[in-house]
């Protein structure tokens, strides 16, 4: 492990009964890197995220974040060290307003005024300040995605995990999302799980392909898109 490494797993396994959802995953992410994860359904991408964030305890293997072991820690403890996630299904506080949602996400300061400023600037940056006082439960799916994304941005973690952020977004919203991701990448490391190859092309630099709980191959976007093995397991249907 070099000092430039932000996240590293070695021999990471997660089994459910007899199913090996993660099987000896050795993964490494540099500081400030933007990485895409792809793979067919059930390849282990979401399980990988949940193991990194502590929602699942690893069956075996280690997870290092900033050189510290975090495998098996409480979810909140891992989040405090600087791992933020936007989950696959919008995971928000439905009974609270948009502003309150983002307000809760700010942990960097205890000062009320500073907090309010961070909240306001995040809302403006994400273009949702006009719905700031609406209860989140009443919003459409796409807007809820942006609310959750705003929460992660307001939280300002060193590593941002995005699980299918483009799902259910309009094409306009998708373009906007790609811009946001590039913007975030200036001072954050990101891992993005995505199905939409179009979207991967928009944001992609380096791509890791998961298959049956293992890392199949890791390469640049272009190389991955022309890789035969990847086509066989996954792209055969959707990249045509």
């Amino acid at each position: 492990m070099t000092t430039d490494t932000l996240l590293e797993t070695s021999g990471l396994c997660k089994h459910f009964g007899g199913v090996k959802a993660l099987d000896q995953v050795d993964f490494s992410l540099a500081k400030g890197e933007l990485r895409c994860l792809i793979g067919p359904n059930g390849a282990g991408k979401s399980t990988f995220f949940k193991t990194v964030t502590g929602q699942y305890a690893p069956t075996s293997g280690t997870v290092f974040f900033k050189g510290q072991p975090i495998g098996g820690l409480e979810t909140s403890a891992i989040a405090k060290r600087g791992v933020g996630i936007k989950t696959q299904v919008p995971n928000v506080f439905d009974g609270l307003s948009v502003r309150e949602n983002v307000w809760v996400a700010v942990r960097s300061t205890k000062d009320r005024r500073e907090r309010d400023e961070i909240v306001q600037s995040t809302l403006v940056r994400m273009g949702i300040d006009h719905i700031a006082n609406v209860t989140v439960g009443q919003l459409a799916h796409g807007q809820r995605q942006f609310v959750e994304l705003s929460m992660v941005i307001a939280e300002d973690p060193e590593l941002i995990l995005l699980d299918e952020p483009a799902a259910g977004l309009s094409s306009e919203e998708t373009v906007r999302l790609a811009e946001i991701i590039h913007e975030l990448n200036r001072d954050h490391a990101l891992i993005v799980v995505e199905h939409d190859m179009q979207f991967i092309r928009m944001i992609g630099q380096k791509v890791t392909v998961f298959h049956q709980g293992k890392i199949l191959v890791e390469d640049t976007t272009d190389a991955i898109l022309s890789n035969e093995r990847v086509r066989d397991v996954y792209l055969g249907k959707s990249a045509a």
Partner: protein, 340 residues
């Protein structure tokens, strides 16, 4: 809009508190003052459950346990210390510490709602049995004989710490009103704080809160303990207005607290207080006439509200008020349009 609503609520509550404190005792009869003291002290109990269940989402079927512990802690303290005010302090400390210990097992075991309800209820019932079995001289803490089934009548009453005079029934009533008001303000202040907002967020979505770096367990534990402390204050006042007895831990005692909250409206603070006082008046009346067993009335009310009015009365009134306001606005716009 939200701020305005909070402002209206605070003003209304303050006005009612001032009325209850200054105007009401001028014309109320002596007997009414005494029963009002009981109602107000129990209203704090309703408030405590409204707080932890309505905002913290903590399903506590054992609020009566903290109420009873508060009452008994006061009684034991009042018998043993020179100044009864130390008993009052004990009445807050004992339930809070007990709740923290119980909460450790429940929240750190990450037990679900249903289990929480069952455990808190069970704790209450066992405490009832324990206290009920303390008859005889063998069961005494210092000078305080626990008295088993008979409770502890004749416990020294609260004194004014400055003059060392025992509080008159009117003064006790005034103290109860003031404590209810400040308990309400405390709840409001906690909910407006960062801590309170995080607790509400945890109730909304615990996973999300944890993914944002908030460990739900200590938040719930502290919130739960605050509610227990409030219930302890209620028990202390009750011990002064009536006297402590094992029925404070009774299953019926804990059930009616839930009923007050459900009838008044879960997720509000004012509703359960209203629910508490109005239901106490109804059950007292029923008890006097002896026509229907109060348990039947409470049972039917609980079933009917859960099945038909699950949100309680206050949200219903709120909806009604909004509906009327909307109508007024529409008709004003219409008539305004005609003039122009």
């Amino acid at each position: 809009m939200i701020l305005k609503r909070t402002y209206i609520e605070l003003t209304a509550v303050t006005l009612i508190a001032l009325f209850a404190l200054i105007v009401f005792p001028k014309f109320a009869q002596f007997y009414t003052i005494i029963s009002s003291t009981i109602y107000v002290s129990l209203a704090i109990l309703a408030l405590s459950l409204a707080f932890i269940w309505g905002y913290g989402g903590i399903l506590c079927f054992g609020q009566a346990a903290f109420f009873g512990l508060g009452g008994y802690a006061y009684a034991v303290g009042a018998w043993n210390f020179d100044a009864t005010v130390y008993g009052a302090l004990l009445a807050v400390i004992v339930p809070t510490v007990f709740a923290a210990a119980l909460g450790y097992f429940m929240f750190y075991g990450r037990l679900s709602d249903v289990y929480l309800g069952v455990i808190t209820l069970t704790v209450t019932l066992i405490l009832f049995k324990l206290v009920n079995s303390t008859g005889g001289d063998a069961y005494a803490i210092g000078k305080a004989k626990l008295g088993g089934f008979n409770g502890m009548p004749g416990t020294p009453l609260l004194e004014n710490p400055l003059t060392e005079e025992v509080l008159s029934p009117h003064a006790l009533y005034g103290l109860a009103v003031v404590l209810l008001f400040f308990s309400y303000l405390l709840c409001k202040a906690v909910l407006a704080s960062r801590f309170g907002r995080v607790v509400v967020a945890i109730r909304e979505n615990e996973t999300r809160a944890e993914l944002l770096g908030y460990d739900a367990r200590p938040y719930k534990l502290i919130f739960f303990s605050i509610g227990a402390g409030l219930a302890g204050i209620s028990g202390m006042l009750f011990a002064n207005a009536v006297f402590v007895a094992p029925t404070m831990f009774d299953m019926a005692s804990t059930a009616r607290i839930l009923i007050w909250v459900i009838v008044g409206g879960l997720g509000t603070l004012v509703g359960p207080v209203i629910g508490c006082i109005s239901l106490l008046m109804i059950t007292t009346y029923l008890g006097k006439t002896g026509f229907v067993d109060p348990n039947i009335a409470l049972g039917v009310i609980l079933i009917v509200f859960v099945l038909l009015v699950p949100r309680g009365i206050l949200p219903l009134l709120d909806d009604g008020l909004n509906w009327v306001l909307e109508r007024l606005k529409i008709s004003r716009e219409k008539s305004g349009g005609r003039v122009l």
